[in-house]
Symmetry: C2
Subunit: 126 residues, 2 copies
C-alpha cells in the first residue's frame, strides 16, 4: 500500500507537470473536492481531473510544508501558488482510502487583507 | 516530554477557557506567531498572551480536525471560530521545541468569496 504522504507528493508533482493520467491515478473514483470559502463541491475523479485540466491561467504550485498523520490517514499541505504575477497561499487537507488513494480534499485559499487597528503595540509587519 | 499534539490540545482548551496562565505554559519563551495574510508577526510568549487576552469580541474556537506529524514535530488544526454571530475558518500550523512546547504558529483566516464563472458544469454549491 502506498502511504498517503507519497500519494499527495505524486498528486502535486503530476498537477505541476500537467500529467493528467498520473494525477487521476492518485484519486479515488468517488473523490470529493470541497472549497468551503465558495461552498463549492466537485464529485468524482472524472470531473475533478477536468476541473484542474481546464483551470485557467499559467498557474504553478510549490509545496512549502507537508504534514502527514499516518495514524489517522490524513495529510495537509501548505503551498505557494503563482498565477502569472499573482502570488497566493493554498492550504489543502487530504484524507485517504484503504488503497492509499485520495478520498477527499478540502482546500482553502486565504487572501491578503489589512490588519484591524488596535494591536500595533504588539505586532511588527513583514 | 509532552507530545506536541497534546500541547496543541491544551493550547486551544486554555484559549477557549481564557486560562491565560495555562495558555502561556504551552508556549516557548521565544514563540513566533505569524499571520501571512496581513504580514503581521508577534515575538515572544508575553506579547502573544497579551494579544490573545486583549483580542476583542465574544470569540469561540472549536477544533474541527487536528493532524499531527510526530516524526517532524508538526501539528495543524482546522478550526471553526465564531465571533458573535459571525462564523469563520482558521487554519493553524504549529511547530514544537524539544520540551514539547509550541515554538512557532502560523495562522490563516480564509474568508468566504463568490466563485469565478466558468466551472458551473463541474461543481455544485452547498
Amino acid at each position: 500500500m502506498t502511504e498517503l504522504r507519497e500519494t499527495v507528493e505524486s498528486y502535486w508533482a503530476a498537477a505541476e507537470a500537467r500529467h493528467w493520467l498520473a494525477f487521476g491515478d492518485t484519486l479515488a473514483e468517488d473523490v470529493l473536492f470541497d472549497l468551503p470559502q465558495t461552498r463549492e463541491r466537485i464529485r468524482g475523479r472524472k470531473r475533478f481531473v477536468q476541473f484542474n485540466c481546464e483551470y485557467p491561467g499559467d498557474w504553478h504550485i510549490r509545496v512549502h510544508r507537508l504534514i502527514a498523520d499516518d495514524a489517522s490517514g490524513q495529510v495537509v499541505t501548505w503551498s505557494h501558488a503563482t498565477v502569472g504575477f499573482e502570488q497566493k497561499y493554498a492550504v489543502t487537507f487530504f484524507t485517504g482510502d484503504e488503497e492509499g488513494r485520495i478520498a477527499s480534499i478540502t482546500e482553502f485559499w486565504p487572501e491578503a487583507y489589512e490588519p484591524p487597528p488596535g494591536r500595533e503595540h504588539l505586532v511588527e509587519r513583514y
